[in-house]
């Protein structure tokens, strides 16, 4: 018999349609980690809703969580769709998958503005520095000097997803690498519990169009240049926190909205992801030094989300009874009187 999690579901219950992405595509490993994280966190698949734009990355939601609703929207315009849908039912947990073209090019505006609104959403950018689905064009995250077959050499400064997120006051900013599944999974778990938009920029190699060893979005480069800023682990709220849970070497622990905890173990240097200034600094530094720094770069677990600001009821909007939707007949007189 297949192994089950605490709510009696097998891993298979979290899978989706068979992938049609290329063999070896980084996006496939990311989606496996979404599946694993949801399984391990005992999420009810029906409590999750998936969103994406258009691109190979945006196809990924089809290949995971088949029991969840999902919407494969328009190129670059997923955030609005997710915002509306989660307003319609804010008791759902939103999981979104986007690409570097989808979010940093056509989607730049929506990417920035969902952050401003702090809509609770796990927002993964599967960043391969290239347009996969349209077969290999330069993307805004392509590095200067990247040469692609039909495109020539990029000469524009790349956009840094995490720095952009910081500039827009994001409350959860992480970077990871599809070749580091354990970290990816842990970050997704934490993101699933974040009461706001959780940006995870995951370097996710495109084996068909941008996997030369010299490319900063390749497996080889990632393997050689990844530097985790800390060792990160996640303890869900329901697991009672015992002293022993504090793993040896834990230097910092961040408490999430629901009581879950993120534990960080120091590696080479001290790093406090609740400090905005150091977050911006470390991103700039990594950029200047050409390093793939990974981990939880910034977190502010307390800023109100859009749902908090809008003062939504506990019952989601889509389940409100008709009495809540249509004012009572006697109100109409007052309204007419208020005209002139």
């Amino acid at each position: 018999m297949a192994r089950t999690n605490n709510i009696g579901l097998t891993k298979n219950d979290y899978k989706g349609a068979p992938t049609t992405l290329c063999q070896g595509c980084g996006h496939n490993s990311i989606l496996s980690q979404v599946i694993a994280a949801c399984y391990e966190m005992d999420m009810v698949p029906e409590d999750i809703v998936k969103f994406s734009g258009i691109g190979c990355s945006s196809k990924a939601p089809t290949y995971m969580l088949k029991r969840s609703f999902g919407f494969n929207g328009l190129h670059g315009r997923m955030p609005a769709l997710a915002t509306g849908s989660l307003l319609g039912d804010h008791t759902l947990t939103g999981v979104a998958m986007s690409g570097d073209g989808d979010s940093a090019s056509i989607g730049m505006g929506q990417f920035k503005h969902i952050l401003r609104r702090n809509v609770p959403l796990v927002y993964i950018v599967a960043n391969n520095g290239v347009y996969g689905l349209t077969k290999g064009q330069l993307s805004p995250t392509s590095e200067v000097g990247l040469t692609l077959k039909k495109q020539g050499t990029n000469q524009f400064e790349p956009i840094d997803i995490c720095l952009e997120a910081m500039a827009s006051n994001a409350t959860f900013v992480a970077r990871s690498f599809a070749g580091d599944p354990k970290q990816v999974k842990t970050l997704i778990k934490a993101a699933l519990r974040h009461n706001g938009t959780a940006i995870i920029d995951i370097i996710s190699p495109c084996v068909s169009f941008n996997n030369q060893d010299s490319s900063v979005h390749s497996y080889a480069w990632g393997k050689a240049n990844e530097f985790p800023i800390h060792d990160i682990s996640f303890i869900p709220a329901r697991d009672e926190i015992m002293v022993e849970d504090f793993e040896e070497g834990t230097t910092q622990s961040v408490t999430m909205h629901d009581g879950s905890k993120i534990q960080l173990k120091k590696l080479e240097r001290d790093y406090d992801p609740t400090d905005r200034i150091s977050a911006v600094q470390i991103i700039e530094e990594a950029k200047a030094n050409n390093m793939l720094l990974t981990g939880l770069i910034y977190i502010d677990p307390d800023r109100p989300s859009l749902m908090d600001i809008l003062n939504l009821p506990e019952t989601p909007l889509n389940r409100l009874p008709v009495e809540d939707l249509r004012p009572a007949p006697d109100t109409i007189q007052a309204i007419n009187a208020a005209m002139f």
Partner: protein, 598 residues
């Protein structure tokens, strides 16, 4: 002195925008309305905030005609910048009131001219110097009131309303008005024939603008998720929602039963709307011109993935930014076909403030019933001007949430119909059963997309599956004929000629028909209220020899009907004018008479 002209003339006030004259103009309008006289007011304003010429026209009509007229019997000229034009614009035999600080020639001997000593009156009224500019526009209210015989109590009522009962500003303004009236009584000798006298023709009526009505209608329709972006003249629609929602739709526990998001642009606005509707909330957006063009791609997605959204387009003049503060019906075609790859949408066409309210709620019923985007086309004239209206009527039907399945519906549904599929036509009407994100029933979920899909929402590139899907969408569109508001017909005995119109031109058509009758031409009138056209419309067209389609664009409805009824197309005659001003009855009469014999 000629015969008295009572309650049947137009007054135009020429001022500068941003000068606060709007309050004065509305006060006159409302006072006349409260005197029981049918009245209408139209604001013609420039696309900026302050300092440019702006005009406000008030038409009194004892016979109840509320269309705009081109002629002004009375002109109040307050703005040196438009003075020459304003003077020239007074109808022969009419009256000019003007600010006597404007020292410009008035070369007309066919009109009555009354100078108004604005500065002096204000000064003598003892108004604090910091308030002077603010209230100086009240002077013409007072003078006009005196000279026409307006009821001071009704003016007070209007001010009370405007200042929401705040005593101080009401008192200050009333003082100026009274002082001005007194000054007029003492200094001006009435030599013109224009008078107002109380009637009882507005009893039981309210005054409102279409955007407020639409906002309230949507609120009574259960609106829940709104994504929007400011744009003239649609802005006030959502701003009014923001105003009324807290009082009408706060839940007992103090939480909100709705979520309004001012988004970063119209692409996001419609995206939020689609997301909300896809989760089963009643969702809408409201915009104009450019905003609709930006929504094209997303509307195609909603059409193809069958998400019920409502889009209000409070039309203004295009193309492009066009004349953003002028009215038009130029977006009908666009609404009907918006997006690439052969799409066709339902369009509702409210023709009055009352219908803005009615379609405000009904649009949701149609959208959810049909599972498709529904456009509601209002316009600047309807949306922003004050119109007489019957009181808003509480919805006369319960909400129609359409074919939606929740957790508890699944078993019965599948027992009866077999396995559920999101895009499966179960009832033969093209409308499938939908579930919404948030339904926790295992097997209720599906993956929505803008790409090809089969009845079970699976991705498909199969040519036959594709064609079947499109055939069903076309069938669904046919079914819509049964659910959209039907056309309204008003016949004259023995008429052979028909008129078809829609939207804000209704008062002008009503009046034009009387004018045409006076010329011996009887007309039947069909007021279209939605696309697709219904049997009523087809019958009306078949039953007439000649049909004039009156619209404020280049003939878009004529095109749409021609396509639906190619055999009848040669008897459809376009009567169109699209210059930013709402149509006048005279223009319609003349145009129809000129084209009658062709």
């Amino acid at each position: 002195m000629t015969n008295k002209v009572i309650n049947d003339f137009s007054i135009t006030v020429g001022t500068e925008n941003g000068s606060g004259s709007q309050t004065s103009n509305l006060t006159i309008l409302r006072a006349i309305f409260k005197m029981g006289i049918p009245v209408t007011g139209k604001n013609m304003f420039p696309s900026n905030i302050q300092g440019l010429p702006t005009w406000y026209t008030i038409r009194l009509s004892k016979d109840g005609y509320t269309a705009r007229r081109d002629e002004h019997e009375i002109v109040i000229a307050m703005n040196p910048k438009s003075f020459a034009r304003d003077v020239a614009d007074v109808l022969s035999g009419g009256v000019l009131f003007y600010d006597d600080s404007i020292k410009m020639p008035i070369e007309r001997d066919d009109i009555t001219v009354y100078p108004m000593a604005i500065k002096q009156i204000i000064k003598e009224a003892g108004i604090a110097s910091n308030l002077r500019t603010m209230v100086s526009n009240m002077v013409y209210v007072g003078i006009l009131a005196e000279m026409l015989g307006m009821d001071m109590d009704k003016i007070k009522t209007a001010l009370d309303f405007h200042f929401k009962g705040k005593e101080k500003p009401v008192a200050i303004n009333m003082d100026v008005i009274k002082a001005s009236a007194k000054w007029a009584a003492e200094n001006l000798e009435k030599t013109d024939p224009f008078y107002v006298e109380p009637m009882d023709k507005t009893e039981g009526l309210i005054m409102a603008d279409g955007n407020t009505a639409a906002a309230l209608g949507a609120i009574y329709g259960g609106v829940q998720v709104v994504g929007w972006y400011p744009i003239t003249p649609a802005t006030s629609l959502v701003e009014k929602m923001n105003y009324y929602l807290p009082q009408l739709r706060t839940r007992k526990d103090g939480t909100a039963s709705y979520a309004i998001v001012q988004s970063e642009d119209e692409l996001a606005a419609v995206g939020i709307t689609i997301g909300g509707a896809w989760s089963g909330a009643r969702a809408m957006t409201s915009t104009s011109g450019a905003g609709i063009s930006l929504m094209g791609e997303y509307v195609g997605l909603a059409y193809f993935s069958e998400v019920p959204i409502v889009i209000w387009n409070v039309q203004r003049m295009g193309p492009s930014t066009g004349l953003p503060t002028r009215t038009s019906q130029g977006d009908l075609n666009q609404a009907h076909y918006l997006s690439h790859g052969d799409t066709k949408h339902i369009v509702l066409l409210p023709g009055s403030v009352g219908e803005c309210f009615e379609f405000g709620w009904k649009a949701f019923d149609v959208a959810e019933r049909m599972q498709t985007p529904v456009f509601v086309l209002s316009d600047l004239d309807l949306g922003q001007n004050q119109w007489e209206s019957k009181p808003f009527e509480y919805p006369d039907a319960p909400m129609d949430r359409g074919k939606i399945l929740w957790e508890e519906d699944f078993e019965a549904f599948e027992a009866k119909n077999g396995k559920w599929g999101r895009y499966k036509d179960v009832d033969g009407d093209g409308i499938p059963y939908r579930t919404v994100a948030g339904n926790r029933h295992e097997g209720s979920s599906y993956f929505a997309r803008g790409t090809g899909h089969d009845p079970f929402a699976n991705y498909s590139e199969d040519p036959e599956v594709y064609v079947q899907g499109i055939d069903r969408l076309n069938l669904k569109y046919k079914t819509a004929r049964k659910y959209v508001p039907d056309a309204i017909i008003d016949n004259m005995d023995g008429a052979k000629v028909g008129i078809i119109a829609y939207g804000s031109t209704d008062p002008a058509i009503v009046e034009a028909r009387d004018l045409l009758l006076a010329e011996g031409l009887k007309t039947d009138y069909l007021r279209l209220r939605a696309l697709p056209i219904t049997d009523t419309v087809e019958d009306f067209i078949r039953d007439h020899d000649k049909i004039f389609i009156v619209e404020m664009n280049q003939g878009q409805l004529r095109e749409i009907i021609s396509l639906e009824m190619p055999k009848e197309s040669t008897k459809l005659v376009s009567s169109t004018l699209n210059n930013g001003l709402s149509l006048t009855a005279e223009w319609i009469r003349d145009d129809i008479l000129a084209k009658k014999e062709n």
